[in-house]
């Protein structure tokens, strides 16, 4: 059901953990839909993401997307990190099953939430960054049967 890359990132997740006194931290998702992601960022004075850690409560795809997203933002500037979209994460994982696309949205949201926290604390503006939503459930309507 999952691609080899998804399985690799699920089995050997990169950057799991916490950062003490992070420059930014964001938690998104909700227990109702079964996915919660938390991202910790350590950002230096040049606005480069020096380190990133994550913790995720969720399915295989949720773990893999968080892991992949952290590898994609590490070493980037905060502005470059904005380019790590859910689509980019999905492509890097060679795709996700349709029912799991919301997991990649969650990864993008989690990064944004951590960046937002950092921007708020340091009173800076990151282009294109909006206040994160706390709930990303898609509000899908059940099909008539």
């Amino acid at each position: 059901m999952y691609t080899e890359k998804v399985m690799d990132h699920f089995e050997h997740p990169r950057n799991v953990g916490e950062i003490e006194n992070p420059s930014g931290m964001g938690t998104v998702g909700n227990a109702k839909c079964g996915d919660i992601m938390r991202i910790y960022l350590d950002i230096d004075e040049n606005q480069i993401i020096r380190d990133v850690k994550f913790k995720t409560f969720g399915c295989g795809a949720a773990v893999a997307t968080s892991s992949m997203a952290t590898t994609m933002v590490k070493g980037k500037s905060v502005q470059e990190a904005m380019e790590v979209t859910n689509k980019a994460v999905m492509e890097a994982l060679d795709g996700l099953p349709p029912v799991k696309v919301h997991c990649s949205l969650l990864a993008e949201e989690a990064i944004h939430a951590a960046l937002w926290d950092y921007a708020q604390k340091n009173n800076i503006e990151i282009k294109g960054l909006q206040k994160p939503k706390s709930d990303i459930s898609e509000g899908e309507e059940d099909e008539e049967y």
């Binding site: 938690t27 227990a31 109702k32 839909c33 409560f57 949720a62 919301h102």
Partner: protein, 395 residues
């Protein structure tokens, strides 16, 4: 192939070799159409009659009360939709429970959209239907009560005899989805006052694609699958002869060794449950502690999500299932776990292991050891566990 420990017997079971063997001649030798007139088809007719007799006997029914179907889902659909249609003059109210299989729930929802009213009974924390609630729900226009014999997720066995008595007292039809229970626990349709009962072959070491619906004589429901004159004109379509033979053989064998099988499964089940609850923190057993199917263990592990657990177990060769939303393709976790009162985040971390008599104590030990490591690993990366630990250490 790696060694597989199959613990998903509520999903489906291995077909017994004797069953497969009994079926074989009906593919290649006795392939005639049972409806044909020539002698060549006689063995097919006889085989069907023999299976019907075996099954009727196994539940205390008459042979003309057994109708072969394609499985449990078809049986449920037939019983509920056809009863609703046949008895709508009397009323349009149906009573069922919140923990039924989707074959019942979605059929009821379908009827709701067509003018029927359905009461979905709550269950207690163990998943048992409350008889007092059932009595309260009965109205003059109630035409059908449909309550499952045993739950497919948490294994809880319902007070079927009492429900049957209540239904009979009020002159209401009683259907039970016995897909998980038939040939696993003793069932007598007369003692339990069952009017209709659904069962499926592949849950009792028989083949897939075959099941039956018991319909008590006098229940006036009509055909659901229209076509030829098969099954006393009530279920059209050329009979699945190999399937019917396989179901009959599986039922015969399952009835013979039911008691010892249940004893063996119960021992393994309780050993597994005992070790898990003792050795894994923040774990709970879902379903009734004793009044449950002999092969069903259902756990909830706090702070983690079921699908991740299943994938990691799969990597160790262990087949289990989960009521996690992520395994069902929807965002909501199991309706059964929510109905017994579990909060969403705990319901997401459920694991169902359903055993067979072929499992061993060594396999249970292997599973517990792997499970301990998997739970620890997933918790170490769970933000919910992190918050929990921080909150506790701050105290």
């Amino acid at each position: 192939m790696k060694h597989v420990i199959y613990l998903d017997n509520a999903a489906t079971t291995k077909t017994r070799p004797e069953v497969a063997e009994a079926m074989m001649p009906y593919f290649t030798e006795y392939y005639g159409n049972p409806s044909s007139i020539y002698d060549f088809s006689n063995p097919c007719k006889e085989a069907i009659a023999h299976s019907r007799e075996t099954i009727a006997k196994s539940i205390g029914a008459k042979t003309n009360e057994i109708y072969f179907t394609a499985g449990g889902t078809e049986s449920d659909n037939w019983a509920i939709k056809a009863a609703a249609e046949a008895y709508q003059e009397k009323g349009k109210h149906i009573i069922t429970s919140k923990i039924e299989h989707h074959a019942v729930l979605h059929t009821c929802e379908y009827l709701e959209k067509r003018g029927f009213e359905v009461t979905y009974l709550d269950v207690d924390e163990f998943g048992t239907v409350k008889l007092s609630e059932l009595k309260k729900a009965i109205r003059p226009d109630t035409i059908l009560i449909s309550i499952m014999f045993a739950n497919n997720e948490i294994g809880t066995i319902q007070p079927i005899k009492e429900i049957g008595e209540i239904a009979k007292e009020h002159g209401i039809l009683f259907h039970t989805d016995a897909v998980q229970a038939y040939a696993h626990v003793p069932i007598d349709v007369n003692e339990y006052h069952i009017d209709m009962m659904s069962a499926s072959g592949h849950k009792l070491n028989g083949p897939k694609g075959i099941g039956f619906l018991y319909i008590r004589t006098g229940v006036k429901i009509r055909s659901f699958i229209h076509g030829g004159a098969q099954e006393r004109k009530r279920r059209g379509g050329t009979e699945n002869v190999p399937g019917i033979v396989g179901l009959g053989k599986a039922a015969e064998m399952a009835m013979q060794d039911m008691k010892e099988r249940a004893e063996k499964e119960t021992f393994l089940r309780d050993y597994l449950i005992g070790r898990v609850l003792k050795e894994i923190p923040y774990a709970r057993l879902n379903g009734h502690p004793t009044n449950r199917l002999s092969n069903n263990a259902n756990f909830a592990f706090q702070f983690l999500e079921g699908e991740s657990m299943l994938i990691l177990l799969d990597m160790e060769g262990v087949c289990g299932s989960s009521g996690s939303a992520c395994t069902s393709g929807s965002l909501d976790p199991s309706h059964v776990l929510l109905a017994i009162g579990l909060p969403h985040e705990i319901a997401h971390g459920s694991l169902r292991l359903t055993l067979s008599e072929e499992n061993t104590k060594e396999e249970m030990d292997f599973v517990v050891e792997k499970l301990k490591a998997i739970v620890e690993r997933l918790r170490s990366m769970s933000p919910l566990y992190e918050d929990f630990v921080k909150k506790n250490s701050a105290r």
